[in-house]
């Protein structure tokens, strides 16, 4: 049990430290750590976790940490995974702020340069995230038809304002048809 908790903490600390550029760009990290490297989740379970995390409020990495932590080691696992995913990157930010208070000018310019260089790399992560999620869907033409319909729906005002609603409708259709 202790070793499970320790590996939960280290996996989610790594996911937190990789969570550049917002929620969806974290998907390749979560996929790599939980599916490819650890085998804690099957491809199917992974896509369920991502959908769940998109349906519920809050940052994707936190939702995923709480749920996967709970699944693997109950409530203590949920607490530990969530703390790890939040505290690891915060520790990095705190140490950087400390440095920044000592040598502001150069570091500030450095941050700006790295941030600019991060943008296309994060777009690449998003592209990878898209394929990780879409890959299991392209094998079934019914799912492709549903996705095409959802794409049209998502452009209406109601669904572009409330994307969670789109997920719920898609889920409802899925539960009825498949």
């Amino acid at each position: 049990m202790t070793s499970t908790l320790l590996s939960l903490a280290s996996v989610f600390a790594r996911i937190g430290l990789g969570a550049f550029g917002g929620g969806l760009a974290t998907i390749p990290f979560i996929h790599y750590e939980l599916v490819v490297s650890r085998g804690w989740l099957s491809e199917r379970a992974f896509s369920e976790v991502v959908s769940l995390a998109q349906m519920t409020p809050g940052p994707l990495a936190i939702n995923a940490a709480t749920f996967v932590g709970y699944r693997i080691a109950g409530t203590p696992g949920a607490c530990l995974a969530t703390l790890s995913v939040v505290l690891a990157p915060l520790a990095l930010l705190v140490s950087f702020l400390f440095l920044l208070s000592r040598a502001p000018g150069d570091l500030r310019r450095g941050v700006e340069r790295v941030r600019r260089a991060l943008r296309p790399a994060v777009s690449g992560m998003l592209l990878a995230a898209f394929w990780v999620v879409a890959r299991p869907l392209v094998r079934d033409w019914r799912l492709l038809v549903l996705s095409a319909l959802l794409l049209l729906l998502s452009r209406t005002r109601l669904f572009s304002r409330y994307p969670q609603l789109l997920l719920l409708c898609a889920g409802g259709v899925g539960a009825l048809l498949f």
Partner: protein
């Protein structure tokens, strides 16, 4: 999400627009959920270390509790065929949403061919070469710095 955080922070009246945009730069340049980073920075600015701890708790606790409440049910029912089909349908919507984000990013990217090369390299390293995403991301950033030139 970013726009929402910005609006809410401005509405509190504790922070100037410049402070908010400085925080946004730091929050997005560093890893970790942007909402958590922002709540840490804003909390610290307004009420010191206690403020930071309080603000981060406020950001993390609601999603944590929502998932914890649902988790017991979900772990029990996730194998059920109906529940599986529900999530299968929902993942179509997730793919559509991510696809749109990618499309919008590609369209609004001001860096031209350099950015396109970096996007392709980063995605290919993950999808085709199967390297750890850290390595893919770091290679992408390095490659972008080496290419130099324009970009926003």
């Amino acid at each position: 999400m970013l726009g929402f955080i910005e609006k809410e922070l401005r509405a509190t009246g504790h922070l100037s627009d410049e402070e908010i945009s400085d925080m946004m730069v730091l929050a997005t340049a560093f890893p970790g959920p942007v909402a958590v980073n922002m709540s840490f920075l804003a909390g610290k600015r307004v009420a010191g270390v206690a403020g930071a701890a309080w603000a981060v708790t406020g950001t993390v606790l609601p999603p944590f509790l929502v998932i914890l409440l649902l988790a017991g049910l979900l772990v029990r029912y996730m194998g059920e065929p109906r529940v599986s089909s529900f999530f299968l349908g929902a993942s179509c919507a997730v793919a559509v949403i991510i696809g749109q984000v990618v499309f919008n990013m590609a369209r609004s990217s001001g860096g031209g061919w350099r950015d396109a090369c970096v996007i392709a390299l980063t995605a290919a390293l993950i999808l085709a070469a199967g390297v750890h995403p850290f390595i893919a991301l770091a290679s992408g950033v390095l490659f972008r710095l080496i290419l130099g030139g324009g970009g926003r």
